[in-house]
Chain length 188, copies 2
């Protein structure tokens, strides 16, 4: 079983923690022999958008950002990042789209929920309608631009969940039957 | 802005942390003046199920568990709990249904995704079909039983997200148009 051991010292009192199974539990946790506190580690959420521009001619383009930071520096991604305390998943997706692409969007429904178990992450992508084709990338982005399907840099996509979300979108687009939620697990 | 300050000491080296905005960031984080590590705090996920029993007569019942632990000891809830590292949201929902109710289910699609911002939580509920009406509640549950709609203990429901999920389910059931994903925010 995959288990993080991120805690060496107790964040409440600074004593060295032990990993052991607390009473009434069935998993090892970081437990403090000094103050008796137990520190849990859980998966965290990455939230982002799939920003779409529908041109006048019936075509469709998707906004991708080229990463200015590690991991995957130089690769293309959908705007996304870690959900913060104090915001909803929708607010986080909007914030990341603003921070990474400076894009003006109207948020749509949840479109992807993917478990990335080995990374301890859940990735959530919302569909979004671009209100403008003017972007203002932030410091985490080298470049933000629109791609037609035939232009997509499939070999230069930063993350599996981004690749899957793009594939689902264009498959749904061609099928013409709507955009249902896609749930999945990334097991590699 | 809602902000947790759970860290007093650095879990990597045990030194006292400071809350300050790191370079290239825009939020205060627990930063360690000794080893320079930064410790992030993010919302966590609660995963559970809405276990349904469809009787021979066309009626429907839902499985609730009466809590044997705080918070909300003695109140009724859907089987749910914190998602663990090393499992998918579906696996977590199945595990919690087994641990809390000892119920045999076939997991269905995601039915509810609710942000509980003040608690720093996201609650995810999957629809589930009960394969048996024999339950085996675990130590966190006083009692597990089926309820018809008219029997539901609305004033004794443990959590807002459980109440909303039950309301959505019976509304969808009566409408007869399927069970779409319900997303929402609990702001109180």
């Amino acid at each position: 079983m995959w288990l993080s051991r991120r805690f060496k010292f107790c964040p409440s009192c600074g004593a060295e923690v032990r990993y052991q199974v607390p009473a009434d539990d069935n998993r090892e946790r970081a437990t403090c022999p000094s103050c008796a506190s137990i520190h849990y580690e859980n998966p965290i959420n990455v939230v982002g958008t799939l920003p779409i521009w529908e041109g006048a001619g019936g075509g469709v383009q998707v906004l991708l950002c080229r990463r200015a930071i590690e991991p995957r520096l130089g690769k293309w991604t959908l705007p996304a990042g870690f959900l913060e305390l104090g915001e909803t998943t929708e607010q986080g997706a909007l914030r990341e789209t603003d921070e990474e692409a400076g894009a003006h969007i109207e948020l749509g429904p949840l479109y992807g929920l993917m478990n990335v178990v080995k990374a301890g992450q859940i990735h959530l992508f919302y569909r979004a309608r671009l209100l403008s084709t003017t972007f203002n990338p932030g410091p985490e982005t080298l470049e933000a631009r629109l791609f037609h399907e035939h232009e997509l840099p499939w070999d230069e996509i930063a993350f599996h969940t981004v690749r899957d979300t793009l594939r689902h979108f264009f498959a749904d687009w061609h099928a013409g039957q709507g955009f249902p939620l896609h749930c999945g697990d990334i097991s590699y």
